[in-house]
Amino acid sequence: MDMARALRSITLRRLAIATVLVMGAGYGLAFLYAPEDADQGFIQKIFYLHVPLAIVALVGFIVAGLLAIQHLRTGDSKWDARSYVSIHLSVIFGVGVLLTGAIWAKGSWGVWWEWREPTLVSFLIVFLLYATYYPLRYAIEDRDRQARYASVFAITAGAFVPLNFAAVRAAQPLVHPRTFSDAGGLPGSMLLAFLVCLAGMALLWVTLVRFELTSKRASGDLKRIRRALGGGDGPPSPARSIAPVATSAMSQMRAEGRR
């Protein structure tokens, strides 16, 4: 068991190092190698931050839906914990998407918000939907029910993400000039820098998800140890929690020991 935990922590460290390297390389390429955009100038560099953030956040939402399917199929709460952490980090990335999107819009179009940019508008709608995930979890006290309902939400919202993009795009007959609608025109050096940035951002998301799950597990273990040392029957914390309990290595060990 200790071996498995040690292995896990090493993988997390390696993952973190890989993230730093790939992100460093990506932004190095973006600023030093990729040419400055002829049309937009320096502000276009935010493209290497904004678009990878958005893609990773959206993929994260869909991954959360798939994890939620796994939770409903198996009934194992660890899938709910993974789905929860995925949504949590994608929402945080989503704040970054909206902020960088507003800055980019101000820099290149002169306005802080642009309703004619369908991707940004779609993203806002998706973000508003996922923001309700927290009050939803908070409003259900029973742990199992909370996990199940959160999974149903994650599946529904995951199916909603692509559909919403299609709908907002359909509402937009006049397509605003977009960096990607003519991706063929994106020079090779820009594309390379972009792809490395995207890979770095994806690694960052995975690292943070792993980190969050590990830290949840550790703090769960710590609480259990404290309770065991403090006489074994500390009062359960009265605060309602919206975060799922990750199955801990400690309780697994104890269960195995009992057997």
Partner: protein, 222 residues
């Protein structure tokens, strides 16, 4: 009688005897029209503005019914009886969604003619628009039934359903208002992108009926 028929008849009979949802929905819609008359300071509406008043009003009125959809089940222990009954639980999803579609059709039969009477110069676009509304109702019923179940079982109740549903229903508003903009134009209906909107509505209905069908069982587990 099939379980589906029994549950649907039960719901319709309860609504007919108590009249808890429908009169409130209709009254809400008509009051909202009056509010828009003053809010926009317009006595006639057409095109995008007509669709922009009518579609969101119907949607908000639908939220009233969605909030009340499972209240009797919660208060009178209907959920427990469904769990005990030897039937497929997704039947409850089908029955509730069908009841909701019926409520919405009745609401529209009342509210849309009043809207036309109040604001519209040309009513020739209303017939094709009825098809748009019907597909919108199905989508509303599919997501509304799932989210209503979640909200009913939570402690936030009436707060949670509108909160989750408003963003979730935006594609329906986009399609219905987009179709309405051309169908309710002052110079007669224009069918330019009618097919696109119907396809979008159909896709939404299909996806969320499937999601509801697949997940509803997990909402009823105890």
């Amino acid at each position: 009688m099939s379980p589906f028929g029994a549950l649907l008849r039960k719901d319709l009979r309860v609504e007919l005897r108590t009249l808890r949802s429908l009169p409130a929905m209709a009254l809400f819609a008509v009051s909202a029209f009056v509010i828009f008359r003053f809010g926009l300071d317009r006595t006639t509406l057409d095109g995008g503005l007509a669709a922009g008043v009518l579609v969101p009003t119907l949607l908000f009125a639908a939220l009233l019914a969605i909030n009340r959809l499972f209240v009797a089940e919660r208060e009178e222990g209907g959920f427990d009886l469904i769990r005990l009954a030897p039937i497929d639980r997704t039947v409850l999803f089908a029955a509730k969604a069908s009841a909701l579609v019926i409520y919405l059709v009745i609401l529209e039969l009342i509210a849309v003619p009043i809207f036309a009477l109040f604001f519209l110069d040309s009513v020739s676009g209303l017939l094709p628009f009825a098809l748009v509304l019907l597909l919108t109702n199905i989508g509303l019923a599919a997501t509304g039934t799932v989210i209503s179940t979640i909200a009913t079982m939570s402690s936030a109740r009436d707060l949670l359903a509108p909160l989750i549903l408003l963003p979730l229903l935006i594609p329906l508003v986009i399609a219905a208002a987009g179709a309405g903009e051309h169908l309710l134009a002052s110079d007669g209906p224009d069918y330019g992108r009618f097919g696109t909107w119907l396809a979008l509505l159909g896709l939404y209905d299909l996806i969320f009926l499937l999601v509801g069908y697949a997940t509803f069982d997990f909402l009823l587990e105890d």
